[in-house]
């Protein structure tokens, strides 16, 4: 019963955006923007200022882009998958760059 409800919550497409979807999109957007900025700082070449500041300048735009990307997901599963995959990808860049 519980599993059925959970699977419904994750898979069901909704006509109106819910609070969980919205909150997850906002938190996910901030988390992914931080992770992408951290990856960018790891990849950039130059002195410290040249490696850190571009991430800082881009951060607000990254949050918005990720916010829209997560928002336009069919269901919660898509939101979660997008966050998890991109977080994993960034974690690899940060670790091995």
């Amino acid at each position: 019963m519980f599993l059925t409800k959970l699977s419904h919550l994750f898979y069901a497409s909704k006509t109106v955006i819910g609070w969980v979807h919205g909150s997850l999109s906002v938190l996910g957007a901030f988390a992914l923007a931080y992770l992408c900025g951290t990856s960018l700082s790891a990849l950039l070449k130059g002195d410290m200022a040249e490696r850190i500041f571009p991430s800082m300048f881009l951060f607000p735009l990254l949050v918005c882009c990720f916010g829209f990307w997560l928002l336009f997901s069919k269901n919660l599963l898509h939101v979660t998958l997008k966050i998890a995959l991109l977080a994993l990808c960034n974690a690899c860049i940060i670790t091995f760059a």
Binding site: S41, F53, S55, M56, F57, C64, F72
Partner: protein, 519 residues
Amino acid sequence: MLAKTLFFKYLHRSHTIIGLIVLYFFYMSTYFGTLTFFMPYLKVWESPSRHFVPSSEYAFNIDATLNEVVEKYHLANAKSIEITLPSFRDPLLRLSTESQNSLFIQPLTNEVLKVGREENLISIFFNELHTGSVIPLIGMPLMGAMSIGILFLTLGGFWLYWQKRKPTKGVKGNWKYTWLSWHKITGLGIIPYALVFACTGAFLGLMLSFSHPFAWSASNKKESNLRSLVVPIIFAQPKYTSSETKASMLPFSMLYKVAKTEYPRLEIVGATLYHYGKEGAKVRFKGFDKDNVAQTGRTNRLSITLDAVNGTVVEQKVLENTHRISRMLSAFYYFHFVPDETLGMRVVLACFGAVLAFCLVSGYLLWAEKNLHQKGWLGDLTNRVSIAVLIGIIPSSAIVPLLQWILAFDLFDKEIWVRGTFYAFWSFWLFYCVFERSIVTIISRMLQASAWFLLLAVLFHGLKSGFFIWKSFTLGAWTLFYMDTVFLVSALILFLLAKKVERTDLFYRYERKGVYDGY
């Protein structure tokens, strides 16, 4: 992929909800931010020691005074002495060192002034309300996050407009249609302004204090403190050596002239004296490039360093030699603070700020219209709280300049009195909004109270400083005259608005429902 109708629905709903969350914080930030565009002029108006008629182009000559002041206040022992020259931002000349409080010199009489507790009380308070730093720890990052919210709303709003470009059908006289039109017109009009101020606001509010992951990653996971990593690169200070042997220096005015001749494009705003009065003493004149104000702002000043003993050029920092991140940072600061721009640009930006505030209010009213015909307490209560925040802020901030001139300048805890009254008065309006049944009466009294406070502020300013508006006009103290005029015109507009509110049908509609009629 989402269906087009769902796509629009999601975008619309997220725009509404994020808008309602961001509205109150960002309205506050916009309101006080718009006021702080006039901070240099407000600083002069609020401070009695700046009540004099400055000479044309803020001329000064401290040749005779400099030695005396340096000796009397033991400034020569300091590593360097910073001199901020008189300007429209502050007509007084300021001497500061790392170890002492700043000294202020009246440039016409060369008298060292005691500015005490009059120093920038209103302007600093309004600026803190704008940045959110009045809320300890979380205030500034919160305002930074709200700026990102505004960025999301701006981009999302434009997207919504693009999705549904056909004109909305509306009945004339339908307020929902009216607010939607105004929200759209003002929203589209301020897109560049909102983008610039939201991006720079998010950077200043959130990124400057929460960029540890970027610093940690860039330093190969060794250091997470941004300041310790970048300050030595972009704010590197020159190091000059000297001996302890005393030497006579050229007069400051002569060095100033040499600097102007050698570097004509440099608009000098200040100077730093290194090893004053000793052999090897240097003077570094700093300023901005007249042809490139944005990239040579407060964080990337250009300079020319002269040997203070013989006037020869030691070093010249031109725009091309500066770090590209410093140039970018300077542009970021410039677009947010417009530090070296005078009245014209500030008035234009303040107008945009007012339009942004109206855009936020019209967005709220659009939502309020929907709730007007729905049962329940939410609509009425949010209307009342919104009035307390959106309009209540006007009388609460108008009482601040009045208190500045009513309370004694040597009152030990004046700052606490002024700030405390502001918060107490704002809380009063919140309670009054729930206590008073008639919304029209609430709005009208708020506007009338604001008008009276501004009027009385001008009166008490005249009484205590002696600079009544007509005296400022005859003497040519234009900053004081303009500030008094702005206060009086604002008071008049607020009086007229208060009268208009009582005669407009719109506000009576909100009185149909309410706490007194039961939900």
